[in-house]
């Protein structure tokens, strides 16, 4: 299960709908690497094709945070 950041939106007493609860957002690695350094370790071609990136440093797969946590 992918660790994702979360926040809880304010739920007003006047809000007729049930509270949303936790909302999740992803912060992929490219946010933290301003300029890609040279000679980063690489995947093999087949693995890079499957994972969608040549460099493990930028690997960022999608994991539905709402499914496991049930809310």
């Amino acid at each position: 299960m992918k660790r994702m950041k979360e926040y809880t939106p304010y739920h007003s007493p006047n809000d007729p709908c049930p509270p949303i609860g936790k909302k999740y957002y992803s912060t992929p690695p490219q946010l933290y690497i301003p300029f890609q350094p040279a000679n980063l370790p690489q995947y093999s071609p087949k693995e890079a094709l499957a994972k969608g990136t040549l460099w493990p440093a930028f690997y960022d797969y999608y994991d539905n945070p709402y499914r496991q946590r049930g809310n």
Binding site: F35, Q36, A38, N39, P45, K46, A48, L49, T53, L54, W55
Partner: protein, 88 residues
């Protein structure tokens, strides 16, 4: 039109796809890192690798591309022999 292709056909196309992906990634990387000799060396290596792979595929399964990007068979205009891309 053949009803089925040998496993080798799919294996070679998978290899070609993997090499193509590496070339795309390296192209994008080199656009912003033009002086990274290591990456340029790797790019040229995979580029020649792709040429060999393409020749190998086309020798047994016909042309991959059109308009002169691939040779045609000499005895017959055979670009429509193999399965179409969406049929692969």
């Amino acid at each position: 039109m053949p009803t089925s292709m040998p496993d080798d056909y799919y294996r070679l196309l998978h290899d070609l796809q993997a090499v193509d992906f590496v070339l795309v990634e390296l192209t994008l990387y080199l656009d912003t890192h033009p002086t990274d000799e290591e990456a340029v060396k790797q790019f040229n290596h995979y580029s020649s690798e792709r040429k060999k792979l393409k020749k190998q595929i086309e020798r047994s399964y016909g042309p991959l591309q059109q308009y002169g990007n691939s040779y045609s068979a000499t005895d017959k205009w055979n670009w429509s022999d193999g399965p179409w891309p969406w049929q692969v």
